[in-house]
Symmetry: C2
Subunit: 388 residues, 2 copies
Amino acid sequence: MAIDYKKELENTARSMIFVHDPDSLIKSIVRMIVSKAKITHASFFLYSRQKQGYLLTVSKGSLGKKIPLDLICIDKDDVLVRFLKEHKSAPIFGREALVYSQAEIALKNTKLKQDTKSQLAQVLYQMELLDAVVCVPGYFGNELLGFLLLGKKDSGKDFIGEELNFFAALNSNVAMAIKNAQLFKELEYEVERKHQLFVRITVAFAAAIEAKDHYTRSHTSRVTNISLEIARRIGQKSKRSLDGKFFENLHIASLLHDIGKIGVPEYILNKRSGLTIGERNRIKEHPMIGVGILKPIKELEGSLLGVRYHHERFDGKGYPEGLKGDQIPLVASIISVADSFDAMITDRPYRTALNKADAINEIRHLGGQQFCPRVTNTFLELCEEGKI
Amino acid sequence: MAIDYKKELENTARSMIFVHDPDSLIKSIVRMIVSKAKITHASFFLYSRQKQGYLLTVSKGSLGKKIPLDLICIDKDDVLVRFLKEHKSAPIFGREALVYSQAEIALKNTKLKQDTKSQLAQVLYQMELLDAVVCVPGYFGNELLGFLLLGKKDSGKDFIGEELNFFAALNSNVAMAIKNAQLFKELEYEVERKHQLFVRITVAFAAAIEAKDHYTRSHTSRVTNISLEIARRIGQKSKRSLDGKFFENLHIASLLHDIGKIGVPEYILNKRSGLTIGERNRIKEHPMIGVGILKPIKELEGSLLGVRYHHERFDGKGYPEGLKGDQIPLVASIISVADSFDAMITDRPYRTALNKADAINEIRHLGGQQFCPRVTNTFLELCEEGKI
């Protein structure tokens, strides 16, 4: 066994801990083993909690041609698995791999107990079915994470002790890398879970606040969808594409843009007749009330711009600050168009809804006055394509 | 160099990838090196982004006695660091470690350029100050994550090539384990960040809803604190201590217990005169409105019990379901006491606040009728100790 391919395999095993996907990790190591160590085929069975068994995760060589991946699942109570688990601490073959030819010899040993013999015979039959001459278990602590099955060497010769020890050491590295990858996956899943929890509670609150404003049910989710659609298109068209952070900020800002309405008296929000100037001014407070609610949350800083400025106008006649043109952050300009469009096509206390075509015309007409021209054009483009 | 301690060190290095704290990881490996390889001292300098330099993270042996930890920080532009970075791809000493005695010989080489010579001389001076005869860098890709400094061998002999290669390989494992640990830390931090974001947005919403109910400002945060205090004490006293999940559920449920008030008309919440039966029934809807708002969020299932049942009474005369005694979940019984107590000591539209002593007496009096006796007793105990 030449030292160079050992070295190569060791290096692969070492860098494995940065592959956080168990499947691709196993794939690369099995491919390496087959090609570098010149073996007819090799396969790896990885424990799956879901299936309560060991799934054929990858297979290279002749076996791979015969058996489709994911079709073989060896049950956790299978005789081979039980054998590998029971013999973990005291391997009866003196090394950390189960070798077919040595097991055959052991089987002829008259001192062997009858039940051990019958178990061993079943194990060998299992190996025959899988066309394997060596089985290398991979443990983490007392857990059997998986096992590697090796076919014959291309040369037809038997594996020597040094080779078997090497594969055992290699497989123990693989097992650790798998465990590491699994821990990573779990943590990544946890991050995603927490993020979803945040998004869901935000959606729930937005919906609860909308429920107070009888005329705007589902308004928030429609505004959010339209805003994201506009942003995606702007991102595709610009030289400097909008980054993930921008989309996250826009997403949260669209969900929360009207949050400040919780501070506006219900009778004003639901008034059927015309509003007095005083009442109109109370409504105009909602962006800053929203900012007040969200300001203590440092992480939402980027989204605050959208909440604060979604009623600014391109011509400077909006509120709360009367910002003009490029002074208005893009995130707010996008929400402004989406919010106005959805308000137009919905019945409001003081007027009935416009039809969609009229609302689109109205937005076109107000481009450059109320709305940022770039956002308006993108919006109109999406409407023409039937995407809004 | 005996094979057994190499094996031992290799095994340590292998299991390192499950130590997700870089400091303890380095500590264990340096301790092993000093004791197993019989070296007077060894130290490891780990890169700190915050300090923009390499911090002495652990030190064993004579150097450790002389220099307090964390006192030495080698700047990222230091001559030794620059040398290790520049010679990464083509080490001038033929192996992946910088050896003092060999550098001394190189220094006498007349072919060496003057500026290289002067750099090398400074590097050697630096090693002298640190009492090191070997310096082993640990890279991840092109990044110098840290370096290991070794003192003399106890035997006084020089390190041989095989030993140096071994330390280089070992240190490369250490570097990878450190990188792995750092990635884990970042992910863990991300989980915590997302969790905090969820808690903060929930607090913000609760505060916004309270702001509508003019008489209950800060009620939510006080109820949450009292509830958690009661739960901690119950946990200390019970045989089966309450688990982290229970506290998380209670925390969220206390924050959200009155969320359904958003669905109760403002004029009822703020009514100064007595409520009609119809109005009282509208208020009694708030637990189920809260459940309706939060139900779509699967992850909040455990907290829903607290929102739903915080107005149930131990004697079965509460709402919405009239549950009795042990039918009422503990999380709801705790919130019930905390909520009622805080309501008593606050001015309400229909009455002024009780003083604290009277409120405590009232709770005592209602134990076993309105309130769960176990929770009531724990509450009273905490009051006596001045903890509430």
